[in-house]
């Protein structure tokens, strides 16, 4: 007799009975909050042609894709991210007047090449605000994200605010070009001795600045934020808005690594009380809609129900 296989593929999970009810309940509360805030649902396919996505993926993101060839010989990939899929399917339908749109989505994403058996299938809920380049739009998305987390789980959230390329900007004018890029890499890896040695060669004051960047937790009125352009204004604005809240703490840490390669400015990660990976994250991706023919600033967030409900 053929033996029945009880195990699941690495990183896959099934939920039944109360656990399934709990997850759907959390999802319903998040979705109700987003609808109340004026966000409309968008549904995108779970498999799509591969080529429109490739220019927007890093080598690592590309490696994570589950790809296959359909019966017509076309290369397809399973959905690994909602944001690019939304841009592809939403851009042709957006009004030409550049009006503001608020959309949300929910569903599975699949990412392979998992390390150490961590999840490959995630149930994501997320929201996007299109057409508004202001720090207020960024603050709204962070607020929606924290509301969604609050609707799904208990326990404080630890919010880390950052911006693409912020360290390189903050190392100027003393250090620029490849020197700044190398030092920024060391700061992101939090290499204490390497960074201290490189920075001391410039000046003791510069060494102090580098150490503060490496340790993170810059104040909202940090003068260095003015060197980062619009993203710096957002970091100040969002941090000020979150200080004093009891459901979360916040740190401006420009050494936090960017989680998706399409982010162009401000981005954030949210960690829960347990686990090693962020339970939610988001950021600004102002170039993505232009690539699909409808230039428009955009900012969004996504959370994975696995991390939130399981936490």
């Amino acid at each position: 007799m053929k033996r029945r296989r009880a195990s699941l593929p690495t990183g896959a999970a099934a939920y039944v009975f109360e656990e399934a009810t709990r997850r759907r309940g959390a999802e319903d509360r998040i979705v109700a909050g987003l609808r109340n805030a004026g966000y409309q649902e968008a549904i995108v396919p779970s498999a799509d042609y591969l080529t429109p996505y490739l220019p927007h993926l890093s080598a690592r993101e590309e490696r994570e894709l589950y790809r296959f060839v359909d019966r017509h010989g076309d290369s397809l990939a399973l959905r690994a991210d909602f944001t690019i899929a939304l841009a592809r399917h939403l851009a042709p339908r957006l009004a030409a007047d550049g009006s503001t749109d608020r959309v949300f989505y929910r569903g599975e994403v699949l990412r392979g090449a998992s390390r150490d058996g961590s999840s490959t299938e995630f149930y994501q809920v997320g929201a996007e605000l299109l057409g508004d380049p202001s720090p207020e739009a960024d603050a709204e998305i962070v607020e929606r994200c924290l509301e969604a987390l609050g609707a799904a789980s208990r326990g404080p959230a630890h919010v880390v605010l950052s911006a693409v390329g912020a360290i390189e900007e903050m190392l100027g004018p003393e250090m620029t070009g490849s020197g700044a890029r190398d030092l920024a890499t060391s700061i992101r890896e939090r290499r204490l001795s390497d960074t201290a040695e490189a920075a001391r060669r410039v000046s003791p004051a510069f060494a102090g600045r580098v150490r503060r960047l490496l340790e993170g937790d810059l104040p909202a009125d940090e003068p260095l934020l003015r060197q980062v352009g619009p993203a710096g204004a957002t970091l100040s604005r969002v941090a000020r808005g979150l200080f004093g809240r009891t459901d979360c703490d916040v740190a401006i840490d420009v050494a936090e690594p960017v989680s998706r390669s399409y982010y162009t400015g401000f981005f954030f990660s949210v960690y829960g009380e347990s686990g090693g990976e962020p339970v939610a994250g988001g950021g600004r991706y102002d170039a993505l809609y232009a690539a699909f023919g409808s230039p428009r600033p955009a900012v969004g967030f996504a959370l994975g129900l696995e991390g939130v409900v399981g936490a």
Binding site: D116, S118, R188, R190, E215, G216, G276, E277
Partner: protein, 210 residues
């Protein structure tokens, strides 16, 4: 009471010098001699998890430990991209390709060279970069005897003093990479306990500098 800061401590080859470092002031931790795999040091606000070297990145990556100590060999093999604030001055060695001292040319004609190793990814990357086909034989340990038992033509493993290599009739063909132990930090721990983490790092930094 505040939760202790949890450190993943490798039980392998760097355990002894690491324990010696931690026994020095101001930490003065000497509790690693028992058989328990969880060592609490409440007076220092620390907890140590004694783990297999290859498990350290997993514990830290998944937030079961706030910090950990792992060799750059293990970090590369596990594709661990966590922050690594400190490099330790002991336990340095090299990851090398080894061949039996008796064999003149270990690269056979007509088939891919067979290489026994604990480091499948690193070895595959090395041969990919060389543009050579290799048949990797994954082993969990005692890889040095693989060529003698005709399990492989070559071995890819760590070489420290070279004693084990020589005792098993092997010689070094080529160094693949230098290896050194690093302190790694969970990004979640940085978000949750930034001050505690950096206070501990400063203590350790001071101990390494003294």
């Amino acid at each position: 009471m505040k939760e202790p800061l949890t450190l993943a401590f490798p039980k392998g080859r760097i355990a002894a010098p690491l324990a010696r470092l931690l026994s020095r002031p101001p930490l003065e931790i000497t509790a690693f001699s028992g058989r328990g795999l969880v060592v609490d040091v409440p007076e220092k606000g620390l907890r140590f998890l004694l783990l297999k070297d290859f498990d350290v990145p997993t514990y830290v990556q998944r937030g079961a430990a706030d910090l950990g100590i792992a060799g750059s060999d293990v970090l590369a093999e596990k594709e661990c991209d966590l922050p690594r604030p400190l490099e330790f001055p002991f336990g340095r060695c090299r990851f090398s390709l080894l061949q039996p001292s008796s064999s003149r040319d270990p690269f056979p004609e007509g088939r891919a060279v067979r290489v026994a190793t604990k480091y499948v990814r690193l070895t595959r990357d090395y041969f990919d970069q060389k543009g050579m086909a290799a048949d990797i034989v994954p082993l969990a340990g005692s890889v040095e005897i693989a060529p003698r038992m005709l399990l492989s033509d070559l071995v890819a493993d760590l070489v420290d003093t070279g004693e084990t290599m020589r005792a098993n009739g092997l010689v070094e063909v080529e160094k693949i990479r230098d290896v050194s132990p690093h302190l790694i930090v969970s990004r979640a721990a940085l978000a949750r306990r930034r001050r505690d983490v950096f206070a501990f790092l400063e203590t350790l930094e001071g101990m390494l500098a003294s």
